[in-house]
Symmetry: C2
Subunit: 362 residues, 2 copies
């Protein structure tokens, strides 16, 4: 199949993957590195798979420049399971602070409240989750300060991370902007990401934890919810999602070949600029959801003058192989997710289509 037949994939996650990563997975599907087996058929304790997971970790450490006093885990259950594992492992009897900037941080707060005490340090819900808070009401004794770097549904992204009080670990859900830009890991206590947006197929969650925080894990947690055990076993306490970890490793290699995250960010900025420019120059036909200072480089939700036009826009787009443009069912409208692996050609196809659609319906 030629690259020309590939869809322009604006799905929010699972999402577009680099073509060369898929091609490599396809090429070695029946025989992984001369083993006579698929990577799905080798033991997770074989030297071949140990190399897969060790290389994936090393490449991620290179990409994000992760300090040596942090552990990297490849877990299951998505970010949603982390919403519970975090307070289980980190809060003890204390209280945690949450910054609520969209659906995902709101859900994280809700999960956390099931298990103990949590405070809202800031919320932009009243304004419809279209901005980053101007100020925070921070608990200097909080077990941690939680935020979501990029809200996939509302398309708001923190330009820089919030600053936690001294001694309070900063915890970040970076699912939808993971490896989309450089990050100073040393500012964080915990970073986690479901990989199915920027870094692989669904079914793998990367969790990066500072070593000292592992000492907070209470004894007698179920082992699959226990950061300390999972970190010490190097994600091999039980059988990990091997194929997913293999794919994530290939994506990390691809990102390194692009030149690392500074280069990846440049490409993402170019793509986002093109799309936001088309929105801004439409004379109000397209209206972006997020305020300019909070605009996501990854998820761009916008509205058209009517819901009927929005439906037509998504439908006609799909006929032109522009896929996944319908907004999340909870908010409606249009959303274009423009992750790392989306090419500039796909953005060009989208903005061309937007201009044409406006000409026909504006």
């Amino acid at each position: 199949m030629s690259e020309l037949h590939r869809a322009h994939n604006f799905n929010a996650g699972p999402a577009v993957l680099p073509l060369e990563v898929l091609q490599q997975a396809q090429a070695e599907m029946l025989d992984f590195k001369g083993t006579g087996m698929s990577v799905m058929e080798i033991s997770h304790r074989s030297k071949e798979f140990e190399a897969v997971i060790a290389t994936a970790e090393t490449d991620l450490r290179d990409l994000l420049n992760i300090p040596s006093n942090y552990k990297v885990m490849f877990l299951q259950g998505g970010a949603t399971l982390q919403f519970a594992m975090l307070p289980m492992n980190l809060r003890s009897a204390g209280s945690a602070d949450y910054i609520v900037t969209g659906s995902w941080s709101k859900t994280a707060l809700k999960e956390s409240q099931k298990l103990g005490t949590s405070r809202i340090a800031a919320s932009t819900e009243k304004e419809g989750f279209n901005s980053i808070p101007a100020a925070y009401d921070l608990d200097p004794k909080a077990a941690y300060l939680y935020y979501c770097a990029n809200e996939t549904i509302h398309g708001v992204e923190f330009p820089t991370e919030p600053v936690a009080p001294s001694g309070v670990p900063l915890v970040c859900d970076t699912s939808s902007d993971f490896i989309s830009r450089p990050l100073d890991v040393s500012k964080y206590g915990v970073l986690f990401a479901g990989v199915q947006k920027n870094a692989g197929p669904s079914g793998v969650t990367v969790v990066i934890v500072r070593d000292d925080l592992l000492e907070r894990t209470p004894s007698n947690l179920p082992v699959m919810l226990d950061y300390k055990t999972l970190a010490e076993s190097k994600s091999l306490h039980n059988t990990p999602p091997c194929f997913g970890i293999y794919m994530v490793g290939l994506v990390f290699q691809w990102a390194k070949k692009l030149g690392g995250l500074a280069e990846v960010q440049k490409l993402n900025q170019q793509k986002a600029n093109l799309l936001y420019k088309t929105i801004d120059e439409s004379g109000g036909f397209y209206r972006g959801h997020a305020q300019p200072g909070a605009r996501s480089l990854m998820n761009v939700p916008f509205r058209l003058p009517t819901e009927e036009l929005e439906e037509a826009f998504a439908k006609e787009g799909a006929k032109k192989k522009l896929i996944g443009l319908k907004g999340h069912r909870s908010v409606g409208g249009i959303r274009a997710s423009i992750y790392n692996a989306l090419t500039i050609e796909s953005i060009q196809a989208l903005t061309d289509y937007m201009k044409e659609f406006q000409k026909n319906h504006g």
Copy 2:
């Protein structure tokens, strides 16, 4: 690559997959059903993926003849997470009974004890986990009676399921003999299986639950640990492991094409007979671990006269592309896992090798 270059794969899990399943996954890796996307890149809420997961469920219902008052879920975290989710959802303040016949049921008991009260209804640990208990000490008021149908490490398999007291739901870890033989689901409260032995790549856990037991789920469980919510959302509460579910679906279709589980069982019986016969006719050179009445059709651990010979056996075997023969690190010895997708040719290659090895070293 021709089939001739495939390894003889005796891995315990992840394990051998049907060649035609891998070939189909390979063929449609870049373009799933004309979408111009990989099945890894389509939305879990797209009509294409909805068909994948619905078809997988329907095919499993056909294969196991699952009654309509049971829910089927495709979850993450492996059987090990189920060890905790089970008591969290089913036990309330009561006590649960456990039958301990090997490493995995022992681990399940341990996880359960972290969370509340559990009793040992029977244990074969003193005899080295080589048999099925002759009798049980059952609590007629137990929240459930737990057992592991097939112990992957010790190679003991229940010929038929134990009988729970009236009103006590029977719970079964069927990870390593899942879809290897017909099963009367109506005798069970819960069945679960990590699929990475008989039914797919690691990263998917199938859980089958009788509807009335979902009413036991306490309110305020973290959502990813909550059977009721996960069942009601049809495994789509959050992003499921899409590629894994797709692969599991292909394996279910393959098993149906073989003629269903009665036919699958026949083939498994033939393969196991060949291997056990070779052990039994070796004059004591090869000694099976499990007693004849408890012999697994899936995992066949056996010993040689010395550890040096065992090491040589595994090593020389690997050179002949007989892979995965080393016993589990916790028990040593040799183990051949001979799951559904292992061909009779691979068993023939193994038994030929066993005879040759005995001739050279016996």
